[in-house]
Amino acid sequence: MMRTVGTYDFAARDRAEVFAPDQLVFVHLAGTYDFCAPAAFRAPGSMTFQEFVEQLVRPWLGSWSTWADLDVSEAEFLLNLEPFEPAWDQALAKQGIVHKALLTIRPGR
């Protein structure tokens, strides 16, 4: 608990409603340091997993020609560090990929 001179109660700067109906989603390509850190994307919560991968994740992977054609459907996924099976035709928010969630892609099962 913070010690303060007075009441100290402020809304979180990046709370979900600030971005709604979009949300921030973090994506980590595990097992390599080619990408120094996970990426941050702003995506509509209604975007399907398939669209998210093709429209946002794919161009990012293209930073390296060696990752550009990665078969993401063959990868293993984690959501917030827990095992996760994506539903490719379902909206992100519907399957728990909510604001500031971290999706890990572990290439090649």
Binding site: M1, M2, R3, T4, V5, Y8, D9, F10, A12, R13, D14, R15, A16, V18, F19, L24, F26, H28, A30, G31, T32, Y33, D34, F35, C36, A37, P38, A39, A40, F41, R42, P59, W60, G62, S63, W64, N80, L81, H99, K100, A101, L102
Partner: protein, 501 residues
């Protein structure tokens, strides 16, 4: 009639402590309302020691003399085309990092110490803080003057205040200092005077100043000499403030320990930028980050200072073992981050030369050849084919230190550390146990962080696309690859050299 000159001690007693008075029109707590809420108990302010016994008169005399010497060197430098002395165009980026990242902190320190000088309820700490406030203002000015001669010949040195407020990587030092300045006066002194200045000044100062000396940057080196005696006074203030709190009341010990734990980690994370600068932006190298860390932190602080503090019930900071483990890879990871995002850095990076890679292999035998050499060789491969590797996107940032989430587990240089905390139903990610501990101790504070990536996505930085953000930064070719940049071209033109790639 003979007049006797007062001794330094008598002068200090008369002219600093002796000028204080007890207020009678207002209660003391109305005049000094901020020194109790943090929970620090003080019983006798007269116990505060000031080993420098500085008075205003002495202070002006010393500082004026230092300024005279400094500006004489600066004049000679300008007249003698001193800018031609720098070793390599790459070195200019160390200067930029200093001007963009450090100089604005000196100015913030000036402001924050003025506040301590106003609100401490005793004359001795008030005067020590006042002197430091004036030092910091002088440092901000002399740094700007020391670097201004280069501004006539090279780009990227003309807008440091704006960049400090806007550029993504500069939110690391900016948010660190704002965090400290938003604390109460005792925590601020523990944060900046002790955590930053006492524990880590040598790790900041030596790389920049010795780096300047080895790379022909005479003005920065002269600034360093000019500031050195101030820095030792600042370190003394940090140690004295901590010792004083610990001696005044046993109840202060756990509060001070928690501040040391927090501010060691916060300060150490900021020095990550120095680590990258030291190993990668100094063409003529004098010491590796790992060696500097071992000498200035492990030997002088962990083995020198902390055994003495044990007497007061203080142990080494939490998470220090992670910092020690990171010395093997910190500079490589942070420079890889800077290289990856150079398209918006307001300075230039490039792939290290073959000789540099060999130097790293020698200095970092445990990690470099296994983990980092392959990355650089691939980046060089891309460059040789006429391309340039950039990370095509924006990174996830640590909620506390604001550095991209690039840090890895000890002994595993590709396994990222990722911690998730929940607060009021939302997720917050941190890069290390240290940052996680800091977040969870005071989530109210860190949920307000101004994270550049999130602000860009909100459209608060000129717009949501990279070109809009660069326009908002005021980038005029100041970011991007070093080779082929305006700096690169100008350096070769001033030096009358062919441009080798």
């Amino acid at each position: 009639m003979t007049t006797r000159k007062l001794s330094t001690k008598e002068m200090y007693r008369a002219m600093v402590r002796g000028l204080d008075w007890e207020p009678s029109y207002q209660p003391s707590e109305a005049i000094f309302p901020y020194h109790t809420f943090e929970g620090i108990k003080i019983h006798d302010w007269d116990e505060w020691e000031d080993p420098f016994r500085m008075t205003v008169e002495n202070y002006w005399k010393y500082q004026a003399e230092k300024d005279r010497r400094f500006y004489a060197v600066l004049d000679g430098f300008t007249q003698g085309q001193g800018h031609l002395g720098i070793s390599d165009p790459k070195y200019l980026n160390a200067i930029k990092l200093f001007l963009q990242g450090v100089t604005p902190l000196e100015y913030m320190a000036h402001r924050a110490f003025s506040r301590v000088a106003r609100f401490m309820p005793a004359a001795a700490p008030r005067f020590a803080a006042l002197a430091q406030s004036m030092d910091e203002l002088r440092h901000a000015q002399t740094e700007i003057h020391a670097l201004s001669p280069y501004n006539r010949y090279y780009s990227g040195l003309h807008s440091m205040r704006r960049w400090h407020d806007r550029v993504w990587y500069l939110s690391v030092p900016k948010s660190f200092f704002d965090d400290a300045a938003a604390s109460g006066p005792f925590e601020f002194l523990t944060a900046i005077s002790f955590g930053f200045e006492y524990l880590l000044t040598n790790l900041l100062f030596v790389p920049f100043m010795s780096g300047a000396s080895f790379n022909g940057d005479l003005t920065t080196m002269t600034f360093g000499f000019s500031a050195q005696s101030d820095e030792s006074r600042h370190m003394t203030l940090g140690l004295e403030a901590v010792r004083f709190m610990l001696e005044q009341d046993e109840d202060n010990v756990p509060i001070v320990q928690a501040w040391i734990d927090k501010w060691f980690w916060r300060s150490y994370r900021v020095t990550a930028l120095v680590a990258a600068m030291m190993d990668y932006l100094l063409p003529r190298k004098f010491m590796s980050w790992k060696e500097a860390f071992e000498l200035y932190f492990e030997e002088q602080m962990l083995n020198g200072l902390f055994p003495d503090l044990k007497f007061y019930g203080i142990r080494p900071p939490l998470h220090v073992e992670q910092a020690v483990a990171e010395k093997e890879y910190l500079s490589h990871q942070v420079y890889w981050v800077l290289y990856s995002f150079t398209y918006a850095a307001m300075f230039h990076t490039t792939v290290p030369s073959k000789d540099e890679l060999d130097w790293f292999s020698e200095k970092y035998p445990e990690t470099f050849d296994t983990h980092f050499r392959p990355l650089w060789e691939r980046a060089r491969g891309v460059q040789e084919q006429g391309g340039r590797f950039y990370y095509l996107g924006l990174p996830q940032l640590c909620q506390v230190c604001q550095i991209p989430m690039a840090f890895t587990e000890p002994g595993n240089a590709t396994k990222h550390v990722q911690y998730r905390s929940e607060y009021k139903g939302e997720s917050y990610w941190t890069c290390s146990e240290g940052c996680k501990w800091i977040f969870e101790r005071e989530p109210e504070r860190y949920v307000q962080a101004w994270l550049p990536v999130h602000e860009i996505y909100k459209g608060n930085c000129g717009g949501p696309s990279v070109p809009e953000v660069l326009a908002w930064y005021g980038d005029e070719g100041d970011s991007g690859e070093l080779i082929g940049s305006a700096d690169w071209r100008h350096w070769h033109e001033w030096h009358g050299r062919e441009m080798e790639g």
